[in-house]
Amino acid sequence: MRNWASAGVSLMLMVSVAACGDSADGSSDETIKIGVVSSESGYAAWTGETERRAIETLAEQVNADGGIDGVLLEILFRDDQSDPEQAVGEARELIDEDVVAILGPSLTPTSLAIEPIVAGAEVPMISMSGGYQPAGSEEAPWGWSIVAGAGPAIAKVLDYAVANDLTNLASITPTDPLGEAGDKGLEALLEGDGPYAGQIERVGHEKFNLADIDVRGQLQKLNAGAPDLVFAGVSGESVVAIRKQMDELGMEEIPLATYHSNTTPQVLELLDGTSGDLILPGTAVNVASDLPEGDQREEVMTFVEAYAEKTDEAPMSTEGFGYDALKVLVEAMREVGPDPAAIKEWLDEGQVVMGINYPMEFSADKHVAGGVEQLLMMSADPGNGWTLLEE
């Protein structure tokens, strides 16, 4: 009996302490919490780092302008260590913290891993991965991606190949989900009834492990097919290793094409001292000063200046992914407030949000922002930047 009484008193005390906590901690109600799950360490560390700085830059701009209806944004950054299991844990924690939405993850495996978690919690996830490509509301009700995926990027490269008479194509992709997305994209476009079947001949295809720093064996096999163009469906510094090893094997005359996610300062810097022949379907932010006057140029230039002031660097597509993910959310919250369900509904009604990579179009059937038309072919100018190629 006494036990029950003391238990009752303890319970009442706990409740009252919790209530005091709530009222004393009123400040937490004054911000809009936004979660970010990105890869700040692990094999894709470079993505998370750049995305973080871009998100911080935009969040500071938004907060300086008074936030969303006077309420400031609070960004909770979580590092998934490029690991899906870690990403799941981080996403769960963020959901427990009542975030309005989760920006990221940076990678395909991590995005796929947390998709069921955000769906269960009914929290929007705006992925920054090029391999995570949710078709629409039926397939992934709570998942979006602001990155034009492997399919459109490859189609853009193939358009360029056809226009420039580079009809013998060899490809090399890693054994990760992005590599598989690339394989599927290439197959759909080049084989059977694919739109490029008959126009472009695939003279070789090889796979490699991302942990393997030597791909010369694979490149030699590709070289045997006498390709006019090699496509590397990989994201990150490995693309420079491929360029270097192509040069070493006497393939320096053959251009190497890759994804837009490789428009990083690191890639440009590492390309110095190679033949430097790297082309890719990039985005507006890579060629800011070449853009025509208009809304997009203004949006891009504002960000480029703010970012340069903050980091002393020029932003590239990856920064654009971070910026654009938050931009979508900010626009949605300006329209319907920080309510996850209302944000989803708003996006599914059909919207176009101006991003610094490209104008992002969303609807109930389209949860991925970019397409072929929005991408721009460009070539690397090692150590300096990117040059827009003639269409």
Binding site: I213, K221, V240, K244, D272, G273
Partner: protein, 289 residues
């Protein structure tokens, strides 16, 4: 397979093999003295490359950058020897291996702090590439292969003939006996570490322009160096060159025959043959005889 393809695979294999051999040689040197694996062996190559990249970035020029990189790597090797090997010298093999692994993790963390996550890739040594049966070998690869072959043959020869080399072997075979003969075992082990670090640094610096190197590349090098060392005979410095080249060639031709992503299967198959099947066959033969 055309002659040209064959020649190109041969060149690729020997080039990769040279890198592995430089790591294997260091592993063998340390193993010969301490009967322990130094898992930080690949880290010596990594740190030398990262240091030289910083030196080149500061405009020091090639020779001063390389010299400073090798010197600092040797100092780091002494620190690794003291903090992982000397401190745990009385412990069992497994503990020593774990301490060495902890050392590797600590080094990764330190490299990450100093150099960040980005890779470095120094410019190649300028020079014309040479045609060999229609295949191509770059000046950088020739330097790498030549220097590693000289080290791979020279170091074991010198060990077999000089007093230093003999004291090194004596300390390994019978530490107590060596001590009674006035050999200071810890000094010998330190010497082995510095030798191992120098070899790894030189190999790493010459290989770096062919690869991308970042804070965690060392582990990949150690694993491949270890396989090379096992193929050539662990603890036998003379086996490092053979083991390294064999591993490089198996990888290159494995990649040509198997789908690229499975090329490491060829390596593990060879390793399995050497480590598991060969001793059994020899045992059977011995029993039969």
């Amino acid at each position: 397979m055309s002659t040209q393809q064959f020649a190109q695979l041969l060149i690729s294999g020997v080039t990769s093999g040279a890198i592995y051999a430089s790591i294997a040689l260091g592993l063998n040197l340390v193993f010969a003295v301490s009967k322990s694996l130094n898992l930080a062996q690949g880290e010596f190559a990594t740190v030398a490359v990262l240091l030289s990249a910083s030196g080149l970035g500061l405009g020091w020029g090639l020779v001063p950058s390389f010299a400073v990189a090798i010197a600092v790597t040797c100092l780091l090797a002494l620190l690794v020897e003291w903090s992982t090997f000397h401190v745990a010298r009385e412990r069992d093999v497994l503990t020593r291996l774990l301490v060495s692994l902890a050392g590797v993790m600590a080094l990764h963390g330190a490299f990450l702090l100093v150099w960040g996550k980005s890779s470095v890739s120094p410019a190649a040594i300028p020079g014309p590439a040479i045609d060999l049966l229609g295949a191509r070998i770059s000046a950088q690869a020739i330097w790498l292969i030549a220097v590693v072959v000289v080290l791979g043959i020279g170091v074991p020869l010198w060990l077999g003939r000089s007093t230093r080399g003999l004291s090194l072997r004596a300390s390994a075979d019978n530490p107590l006996g060596a001590r009674l003969y006035g050999i200071r075992v810890q000094n010998v082990r330190r010497f082995a570490f510095v030798g191992a670090a120098s070899v790894a640094a030189i190999g790493g610096l010459l290989a770096a322009p062919l690869l991308l190197v970042r804070y965690d590349t060392g582990l990949f090098l150690t694993i491949n160096g270890f396989i090379a060392a096992v193929i050539g005979g662990l603890g036998r410095p003379a086996g490092a060159l053979v083991g390294g080249l064999a591993l490089g060639l198996v990888q290159a031709f494995g990649a040509a025959v198997l789908p690229g992503q499975y090329k490491n299967i060829a390596i593990f198959l060879v390793l399995f043959l050497i480590v598991v099947l060969l001793p059994r066959l020899q045992e059977r033969r011995a029993v039969a005889a």
